[in-house]
């Protein structure tokens, strides 16, 4: 989308023109949904967060500073909306998750053939508290101090949850690798599928040529 076209849409949104609102919604739907899916447990949950975020976009559009990229602005709104959406349940999630933490030895997971849907499915399977901290730290690049402030938790809690999130993800990756190996050996497998709700996307296993 060109800059001029974007400004025309923003201008229409300021005037609460419904066509412009829909055009902007469609234009940034995929980008915004990719953020919401990371923080949500499934596609429907993500769609709810997305609409809350777009509601803020439409009602606060006058506050947008055009000297900065619009995509970054809307991305920050989606992240903050997702955090707000889950904030009330986060502390309870932390308490539950602490008991389920388990230690996994140092294993390299660099060489794997997992695609976007596989990895998204793994993140969505994380407990809510782990998922939120992992997203903020590993993907969105916030520091533990910033995360602690955003989620109203201790820095130590943030570090702890990040560690446990990594452990769980590592375990899932190892399981996925083991499943793929078992498939290669002819034994059964149960793939992890991202809960994006649009369709059940089959995981791609390049070694086997299975899938697409």
């Amino acid at each position: 989308m060109g800059e001029e076209e974007l400004y025309q849409l923003l201008n229409g949104c300021i005037k609460q023109d419904r066509k412009c609102q829909k055009a902007l919604y469609k234009a940034f739907y995929g980008f915004s949904m990719s953020i919401c899916l990371r923080y949500a447990a499934d596609r429907d949950d993500a769609a709810e967060v997305l609409n809350q975020g777009f509601y803020k976009v439409f009602t606060k559009i006058e506050t947008y500073d055009a000297s900065r990229p619009f995509k970054a602005w809307i991305g920050r709104i989606m992240t903050n909306t997702a955090i707000d959406h889950y904030r009330a349940n986060l502390k309870m999630a932390y308490a539950e998750d602490l008991e389920n933490a388990e230690h996994i030895g140092e294993v390299s997971v660099a060489d794997n053939n997992l695609n976007y849907n596989d990895l998204l499915g793994m993140v969505q399977q994380l407990p809510q508290g782990y998922r939120t901290v992992f997203n903020l730290f590993a993907i969105d690049g916030y520091s533990h101090e910033e995360i602690a402030n955003m989620l109203n938790i201790n820095v130590g809690t943030s570090k702890s949850n990040l560690f446990k999130a990594r452990q769980k993800l590592k375990q899932m990756i190892l399981n996925a690798d083991a499943t793929a190996n078992n498939y290669n050996k002819g034994t059964g497998f149960s793939p992890i599928v991202a809960m994006n709700g649009s369709a059940v996307i089959k995981p791609t296993y390049y070694n086997t040529g299975f899938g697409e």
Binding site: L50, Y55, Y116, L119, F134, F137, I139, K170
Partner: protein, 424 residues
Amino acid sequence: MKNEAHKDIDNIFRQALEDPAKEAGFRESDWIAMEKKLDADRRPRKIVYWLPLAATAAAVILVFLGWLFIKSGSDSNNQGQHPIAINKGDKIKPVTGKQDKRDQTVVATAPVDSSTKVNVPATLNFGPTHKTPVASNTTPPKMKTAAPLNTQNNNSQQPADETLLIANDRSENLQQGNPALPQVFSGEPVAALTPVDVLPETTNSTNNNTSGISKTVKKPTGWLKPQLAVTVLASSDINGASSFKSAGTGKNIGLLFSARFGKLSLSTGATYSLKPYTLPYSGYNPNSSYKFQYSPETVTADCRMIDIPFNIDYRVYSKNKNSITIGTGITSYIMTTESYTYNYSYPTSWGPSTYAVKNPDQYFLSALNLQVNYQRQINSKIGFNIQPYMKLPLKEIGYSQVRLQTAGIAVGLNWNINSPPSPK
């Protein structure tokens, strides 16, 4: 080693999830939910152009209610103070004087005089403060009464059916604290008196006047000695440039001095006014060579000024404690602060956002005033005012060169500096 492993995990997910090559596809059902959310939370837009109509309607209702209030007050006064009906040929009945303290009613007594042909009520209500008993055989008081009260006049030449309704004229004298009132009680023969019968002593020909009350009662003439008053007014109004479509709500507080000459009054003073308004950029015509790189869509003005009116009012209604005047006049503005905020169509800060005029100007005889004033007198000195008003532009004012129009309602208190002009 441990950190490397962590970085591996983080990198795997960051690379895949941060900017996915294949984003989730658009779902119409999500937009429908979004639309419902927007529709549910959409607040009705402010329809500012309704404000003038609402203000006008409020003013009309106010005047109507005032009229009703005045009318009802007038009716009750007529019921409480019965006018004296004097018919030639009627006879006076002998009564004995006494004072009923319980209901604070003075009952006057008149000697029997068969030749007197005046029939008046025997019961007079003077209110709680007058307890002086009526003497039955004393010197006639020095007072001005309605002609028929002269019971000694056997040859009255009033028309046979003449009925005198004078309550209203004389009640004004009572309201003004007429000193002649106590003399009523020192004289006789008084067949029957009401407070409204007592008039200032303006002529010696009262007893001999047989031409009717209209000749014996001189109306006050206040033309030479004006009644001066000072009024504090506060108001809220709407201000618009050329129209009220994008009007702003202003606030005013001021002090007015007025001089009343009969039904006419002149007033002037000063009012400090906050006049915000918004106008489209096309209506913004500053005398400046500056050109915007990106034109604002609208301009919001914040003007603070001293409003100096000079008004003339005419009293169209006055009864008891209530009066209504209509008036017109002309206003001059002395701008004290003048600033403009530029609103752009794009949410951007590409152009200047505000401009404050360094030396605000003065604009003499800039607006035509139209006002209606309802006043209720609380006591002889203090009154309460409600004043719907409009200010119509006569010329452009301000740095933005706009024709600023105003409509609003003021409330205030007025204080009579001097006594009302006394009749001669």
